[in-house]
């Protein structure tokens, strides 16, 4: 589903000394079926932004268009908006509450008013997506699972509503490297199989470079850049100034540039692209 944000602003504590412009005149478009990354440090407005996309927060000014629906317009059914735009918060495992894994995942479908059979189908489907075996986990208490498993239950709880857009706020935070990799692969698989539009809030620039087709950079409530990873990560100094790094490959080429070397590979981001650029550059040196 296409998302269009037009001149969106949000102000906290309006009219007091502690007035904060959490969002400041933000506009962008996210195409249906795309995979978009949102980067920016804590307090840059990322969380506020994603909460506007599924109607948890209402625009102070500006518009959020979901397909053809203006979600700020009167008469729009918020429950429907929230179902279509699934939002997985940071550390979602802390929101589990039901007695069994299956019941917790069924919470969303139940709130949608689906019958029991449909609820169970949704639960099975969602558990398969996040890689939890139904027979093994469905009737267990979510509180006795490991941290990584709890997180997958929580994500399944959102996926079970079959959203058209899935927003994940740092889904891999705190996971060990293997679980981190597995989490991103799972999201990527889900994206490809369902054609679901994905928004990924992340601090990991390597993940952003690898998976995202578009990147939004937030800073102090403003949308600083929006474009392909290649375009965005070309602004090295600016990103560094707001406390954000580069993907590993881009970082290496940047450091080499600083040392007066000029390996080509403009726009190289991943390890492989950087290695290729360095090899080409070394080859050139040796032939001339």
């Amino acid at each position: 589903m296409k998302i269009e944000v037009q001149h969106l602003s949000c102000i906290y504590n309006r009219g007091t000394a502690g007035e904060v412009r959490a969002l400041d005149d933000i506009s962008f478009t996210i195409e249906s079926g795309s995979f978009t990354g949102i980067i920016g440090h804590t307090g840059s407005g990322k969380s506020t932004l994603v909460q506007h996309l599924n109607g948890l927060m209402k625009p102070f000014s500006g518009k959020v268009l979901l397909g053809d629906t203006d979600i700020g317009a009167s008469g729009v059914h918020m429950a429907e908006i929230r179902r279509r735009v699934g939002l997985v918060f940071q550390y979602p495992e802390y929101q589990l509450f039901e007695e069994t894994v299956a019941e917790d995942i069924a919470f969303g479908p139940k709130n949608m008013g689906l019958d029991e059979q449909e609820q169970e189908d949704r639960v099975r489907e969602a558990m398969a997506t996040v890689g939890l075996d139904y027979a093994e986990f469905a009737s267990r208490s979510p509180f006795e699972l490991s941290g990584g498993q709890k997180r997958r239950v929580a994500i399944a709880g959102v996926i079970a509503m079959r959203p058209d857009v899935l927003i994940l706020d740092e889904p891999a935070a705190g996971l060990d490297p293997a679980a981190h990799r597995e989490m991103l692969r799972m999201i990527s698989r889900f994206h490809q199989e369902r054609g679901c539009t994905i928004l990924l809030v992340s601090h990991n620039m390597d993940d952003v470079a690898e998976y995202c087709g578009q990147v939004l950079v937030m800073d102090q409530g403003k949308l600083l850049y929006s474009g392909t990873p290649r375009e965005v990560f070309a602004h090295r100094e600016e990103l560094e100034a707001i406390g954000l790094g580069l993907p590993a490959g881009a970082e290496l080429l940047h450091l080499m540039n600083q040392r007066g070397a000029e390996p080509g590979g403009k726009g190289a981001l991943t390890d492989a692209e950087a290695a290729a650029a360095v090899l080409e550059w070394l080859g050139k040196q040796e032939t001339c």
Binding site: H41, T42, G43, S146, G147, G148, A173, G174, L175, D176, P177, A178, A179, H180, R181, H203, D206, G243, L244, G245, A248, G249, E251, L252, L255, M256, Q258, R259, G260, A261, D271, A272, A274, A275, V278, L279, W281, L282, Q285, E286, C288
Partner: protein, 292 residues
């Protein structure tokens, strides 16, 4: 060198106090032997549930071994009368910035440890000021802890431990919940403490944080399966993968280059070092081609 911490045959099982025959968990730590020398910087890696945090908590008497023993500067952690001497020698900073701040005012929180130790008021003042300056938050001493960012809260937690004047500091995934800026701040403080001679133990999932350590320990299923300098550890790709870990970014690129015939040596671990080495090689090659 002086040994700060020594673990001998250290084992730990949860729920052992209640029922020795039927402990609640499997062995979380299994016959761990470890000696940490004064001034060393150690990084502990391992997948979730490998026993890293339990090990950390055994090293400063927050948990008592169920088998073997732990000595901190010769003091046995199992003996009650050593408790406060041990905990002020080996300090620990935890993962969640919100859940380890005791007081609602910055300087009061930093003073919490020394207050518990019964340090005289004038001395507490000196220690609190020193510790806050060390973490760069002296100006914020009167502020409310609630308004601080995650990174600032972790720096307060570090200051709180520093004010106890420890010889060793454990960072138990203290960077895991921070954004890149907060992480960088905490790591910089850690480096600075290390330069001043502090023994540091960092538990982390970020591989790039391991490359500057003196020793890297890899844990799996309650055992230390490797204990070597980073250049050795990260040249054993197989071992790293088996432990559920990955290689740091610079080493991933280094290995790609190696596979294509560029002989980058093992000692190149960080991105800066790799860039330096490549540029130096270009100069050599450039110089060489001129002579031809």
């Amino acid at each position: 060198m002086n040994t700060v911490i020594r673990a001998e045959g250290l084992s730990f099982v949860y729920g052992w106090e209640k029922d020795r025959e039927h402990p609640v968990s499997e062995k979380v730590l299994d016959q761990v032997d470890l000696a940490i020398e004064e001034g060393q910087s150690i990084v502990i890696l391992g997948e979730n549930g490998s026993g890293k945090s339990t090990l950390a908590r055994c090293l400063n008497a927050l948990l008592c071994p169920t088998g073997g023993r732990v000595l901190v500067r010769g003091m046995d952690t199992a003996e009650e009368q050593n408790l406060y001497a041990i905990r002020s020698t080996v300090g620990i900073v935890f993962q969640n910035p919100d859940n380890q701040i005791v007081s609602s005012i910055v300087e009061e929180d930093v003073a919490f440890g020394p207050e518990n130790l019964g340090i005289p008021t004038e001395e507490i003042r000196l220690r609190v000021d020193r510790a806050l300056k060390d973490v760069g938050l002296y100006e914020m001493r009167g502020r409310s802890t609630y308004q601080l960012s995650g990174g600032q809260k972790q720096r307060i937690a570090i200051a709180g431990v520093l004010a106890m004047r420890p010889a060793c500091m454990i960072f138990d995934e203290s960077t895991a919940m921070l954004d890149p800026r907060g992480r960088k701040d905490v790591l910089n403080i850690m480096e600075q403490l290390r330069a001043e001679g502090m023994t540091t133990i960092l538990i982390t999932h970020f591989m790039e944080e391991a490359v500057r350590a003196d020793r890297v320990l890899i844990m799996k299923k309650g055992k230390i399966i490797a204990d070597e300098p980073p250049e050795k550890i990260f040249s054993r790709e197989e071992l790293v993968r088996e432990a559920g870990l990955e290689l740091p970014p610079a080493i991933r690129i280094r290995n790609l280059l190696r596979r294509n015939g560029v002989p980058v040596p093992d000692r190149i671990l960080g991105m800066e070092a790799l860039a330096d080495w490549l540029c130096a090689r270009k100069k050599d090659a450039g110089g060489g081609s001129h002579e031809d």
